[in-house]
């Protein structure tokens, strides 16, 4: 069995990388090879979760260290989530990618391969190499379609800047491991002062990849992810951020039980990210920007669950710790699968309508492919936490974990739990607004009866399959939790009184217990309830219940609304939020005039618009940072390199002297 699993992993990695040269034969062949490789990785991950970890390959690396490629339960869990998304994305790309040449397919395959190696790496050096490979391949994927110019190209460089910052911090944290243990293998660190530095570097470094606050907003995640081609966005948003989650979980699994403030920091960052992500998602009109902000929100939720777990662990609350960890894992899984599907759906929107503006899409998408529309609907509903989908179960678990923050010891921790709970609850509500907006204005709302453009064969099936996974994960959540218990156990192996599964009484049959005793949820019973409720509603409808809706035109100050004006816009949908939460969003009115003098413009409001602009406070910070950095380097240049030969000769002399002194002292 072990040999079989090792063979599966080797074959998966080889196949994933084989897709890079395969693009020479044609991009479709390359995507098909990626699909096969992902399927093999999925099989290997399932084998690990069922029957235990293994090492596939062992060799001596360039620095004399022992390199291993293999999967343990923790990495298998993340490989499984990623492989499911990749299968969908590869199958989708076969029909989606119509760009000439195989450039995008090459970058796509390289990204997949790098992330797979990242999961399989049993050594921090290989991990770092894969991390950097993943960053570069993702950068390639983003700029591949941009034609080397324009905003997408520069967004790619923003992505690269943050990505390299992330690599730097991850490398620092790896250096901390080396300092503590003397080797690069992934072994436990037990000394706390060292581990605090490692923890902080890892949190910020991996947090950069996850796109959480304050490294998130307006800049790299929403812009870079949403300006890439849609299959690339899917891989980036669902699995690149997942790689960040994996890195953080891996590092935490190797650290000792930390002080309470570790968990408090994670909890605070997570809650702020969730709130800001949901807030900006709900006021976004960009078909891809909206899910990208939602990614920030969901990664924030993962951090919230992790933060609750860490605080609980530090304070010895083992049951809450186990439940919050399960919540974090489940949320990561639910987000990856649903977000992969949602970004593929945006590719479908792009394919059908050729625009990313929700105000322009207007329901034309439904005439494209029914399967793709269903996939978009199901995945968006999952993010809106509609039962019985995966997102619902994940968010229920996180809220349940937060409800139990009253168990925290000390008023400060309790108060933090309270604030985080309020922020998370608000962000879940805002996420519903965002998702209703996305689905409503792309699928359900077709006021202009716009005719449908291109048919889209081949885009529906992968999306429908992914949405099936989302439903299955939600309905079968109790069994999924039992299935991933080895991975959770792997993260939490240090000195618990019992394995995490036993702490939660897994397997619990048809339901999930959130503590002993606290809440209970039975995901499989939810669809039954929904079916019964639908029957009642159907009966009421058939018996003549319900009332015909009265349709009236929209009120635009008494003017006759134009066909476009006469319909509800995506912008108008969330203007209430723009105004009510203006202090958080920095909303301000901007007057735009498309011509003529003001008096004329007021008389004909069509050419005189008052728009509401929102602003991210963090963007101001980054803008100042960039300006300050430029000014500093300019001043430094003027001081160090004024163009005088004498000064350059002095530099050479000083360098020689310093080297001589150093050699003398060392010798």
């Amino acid at each position: 069995m072990m040999d079989g699993a090792a063979w599966l992993l080797e074959a998966a990695l080889a196949t994933l990388f084989a897709a890079v040269p395969a693009s020479v034969l044609g991009r479709r062949i390359s995507y098909a090879v990626s699909f096969v490789g992902s399927a093999l990785l999925l099989a290997a991950a399932v084998v690990v979760l069922v029957s235990g970890p293994f090492t596939a390959l062992q060799y001596t690396g360039p620095f004399g260290e022992t390199q291993t490629l293999g999967l343990d339960a923790l990495s298998a869990f993340f490989a499984l989530a990623a492989a499911v998304v990749w299968m969908g994305a590869s199958a989708f790309s076969i029909s989606y990618d119509e760009r000439p040449g195989g450039g995008l397919a090459r970058a796509f395959a390289l990204t997949l391969g790098s992330i797979a190696v990242l999961f399989a790496a049993g050594n921090f050096l290989l991990f770092l190499a894969a991390w950097e490979g993943m960053t570069l391949a993702s950068f390639w994927m983003i700029v591949e379609a941009s034609g080397r110019k324009g905003p997408v190209f520069s967004a790619g460089f923003v992505f690269l800047a943050f990505g390299e910052g992330s690599t730097l911090l991850v490398a620092l944290s790896v250096a901390g491991f080396h300092a503590a243990t003397g080797m690069f293998a992934m072994v436990d660190v037990l000394a706390l002062p060292v581990s605090t530095g490692i923890f902080l570097c890892a949190l910020v470094g991996f947090g950069l990849k996850m796109g959480v606050a304050p490294f998130h907003m307006s800049e790299w995640l929403p812009i870079a992810h949403s300006s890439a081609p849609s299959n690339a966005s899917s891989v980036l948003s669902a699995t690149l951020t997942l790689a960040g989650v994996y890195g953080l979980f891996r590092v935490i699994s190797l650290l000792p039980v930390g002080p309470v403030w570790w968990g408090a920091v994670v909890l605070a960052i997570g809650a702020i990210s969730a709130l800001l992500g949901a807030l900006f998602a709900s006021v976004s009109e960009h078909v891809k920007g909206l899910p990208a902000y939602s990614t920030i929100e969901n990664n924030g939720l993962v951090l919230v669950a992790l933060g609750v777990a860490l605080v609980a662990r530090s304070q010895g609350l083992e049951t809450l710790y186990a439940f919050a960890l399960f919540a974090a894992f489940f949320q990561a899984l639910a987000h990856a699968v649903a977000k992969g599907a949602l970004f593929l759906f945006t590719g479908h929107v792009e394919h059908v309508t050729g625009t990313f503006d929700l105000n322009e899409v207007r329901g034309r998408v439904l005439r494209g492919s029914p399967g793709a529309s269903l996939g978009g609907l199901i995945s968006a509903l999952s993010f809106a936490a509609a039962p019985p989908l995966a997102g619902f179960v994940g968010e229920w678990m996180i809220l349940e974990a937060l409800f139990q923050s009253y168990r925290f010891v000390g008023p400060a921790a309790e108060f933090l739990g309270l604030l985080a709970g309020a922020a998370v609850a608000l962000s879940l509500g805002l996420a519903q607004v965002a998702m209703v907006k996305l689905v409503g204005f792309s699928l359900l709302w077709n006021p202009l009866r716009a005719s449908s453009p291109r048919p889209t064969p081949g885009l529906g099936a992968p999306l429908a399959a992914l949405s099936g996974v989302v439903i299955a994960l939600g309905v079968g959540a109790p069994w999924v939790l039992t299935f991933i218990a080895p991975a959770v156990q792997n993260l939490s192996h240090q000195a618990l009184s019992a394995p995490v599964g036993q702490l939660l009484d897994l397997p619990t049959g048809w339901s999930i217990l959130s503590g002993s005793p606290f809440g209970i949820l039975s995901p499989p019973a939810v669809p039954i309830g929904i079916a019964l409720g639908s029957l009642v509603g159907l009966g009421y409808f058939l018996l003549g219940g319900g009332r015909a809706a009265r349709r009236v035109p929209v009120w635009v100050s008494g003017r006759a609304p134009s066909p476009v004006e006469g319909t509800y816009t995506a912008f108008g949908f969330s203007t209430g939020i723009r105004i009510m939460l203006g202090s958080l969003l920095g909303t301000r009115e901007v007057q735009r005039r498309s011509g003529g003098i003001t008096a004329v413009a007021i008389a004909s409001p069509e050419v005189y618009n008052v728009e509401l602009e929102v602003l991210d406070v963090f963007k101001l910070f980054y803008d100042d940072l960039v300006l300050g950095g430029l000014a500093f380097s300019r001043a430094l240049k003027a001081f160090l390199m004024p163009g005088r030969p004498g000064r350059y000769l002095a530099y050479v002399l000083i360098t020689v002297l310093v080297v001589l002194v150093y050699l003398t002292a060392a010798g």
């Binding site: 009265r550 009236v552 035109p553 009120w555 100050s557 008494g558 003017r559 006759a560």
Partner: protein
């Protein structure tokens, strides 16, 4: 302590007790009451003499049309006095016609909004007024009349309103918006026409670019005459629409 708190305590409650008690209308001009034939004058000759003097044609030899009257007081020289019952209103244009120039009968029937009970939202449309009626309508929201104590508030969209309050003579550019606003009201709904211009056109009747009366454009449920009507006249009209006027004590300041 901020001075306004002390002042407020010193002054006491200034808000009108209307409709629970008399509104203090002592300082209103006498033209705030509808005109009636002076008890001392003989109806037929007086009406005939005043007919020619009335600038809006409110007076004819048979009677007085309160909807057309702009309270210009020219007829007081011919035997009329401003002493009719306060707060007149009617649910039809004919209901405002007083044969023989006597007082209008008390009108207490029209209450299409009775199911709405104690909360009414008003949407004000100025169809072409001189702004006098606007001032009087909006005075309902000031601290003295304070209509919100009766559950009556103003809203910014007809989608949220129960009552369309129309002031001014309907002008051509506003006919479309008027109809759209009426369409936009959710049911049950009512239209309250306020002031002589909205009722019959007032002194602008027949001018080019106007379309009096309002009831040709939208169905009107209640007419409140006056030029302009006082805020209490309008408040009484709104309460009548809601079926709340019957439950009130008789109001004769």
């Amino acid at each position: 302590m901020p001075s306004w708190i002390g002042q407020a305590i010193k002054r006491g409650i200034l808000t009108s007790r209307f409709p629970r008690g008399p509104g203090s209308e002592d300082e209103l001009p006498e033209t705030s009451r509808p005109p009636v034939l002076s008890p001392t004058s003989d109806p037929l000759p007086t009406l005939t003499r005043a007919t020619g003097d009335c600038p809006t044609g409110a007076i004819d030899p048979d009677g007085l049309h309160h909807g057309k009257c702009v309270r210009c007081a020219r007829c007081t020289r011919k035997g009329f006095v401003f002493a009719g019952p306060a707060h007149p209103c009617a649910d039809s244009r004919e209901g405002l016609y007083a044969p023989g120039g006597g007082p209008l009968p008390e009108h207490r029937n029209a209450s299409p909004l009775a199911p709405l009970g104690r909360s009414l939202q008003l949407f004000l449309v100025d169809a072409g007024s001189c702004l006098a009626c606007n001032l009087e309508v909006l005075a309902l929201a000031n601290p003295y009349y304070d209509s919100s104590r009766l559950g009556i508030t103003f809203v910014n969209s007809p989608h949220h309103a129960d009552v369309l309050v129309v002031v001014g003579i309907p002008t051509d550019p506003l006919l479309g918006p008027l109809r759209r606003a009426y369409e936009a009201l959710p049911g049950p709904k009512a239209v309250l026409a306020v002031g002589a211009c909205a009722l019959e056109g007032g002194i602008f009747r027949g001018n080019p670019g106007t379309r009096a009366p309002l009831s040709d454009t939208v169905p009107v449920d209640l007419f409140v005459p006056g030029c302009p009507p006082t805020p209490l006249d309008i408040l009484q009209g709104v309460l009548t629409l809601a079926g709340r006027a019957n439950r009130l004590p008789e109001v004769h300041p």
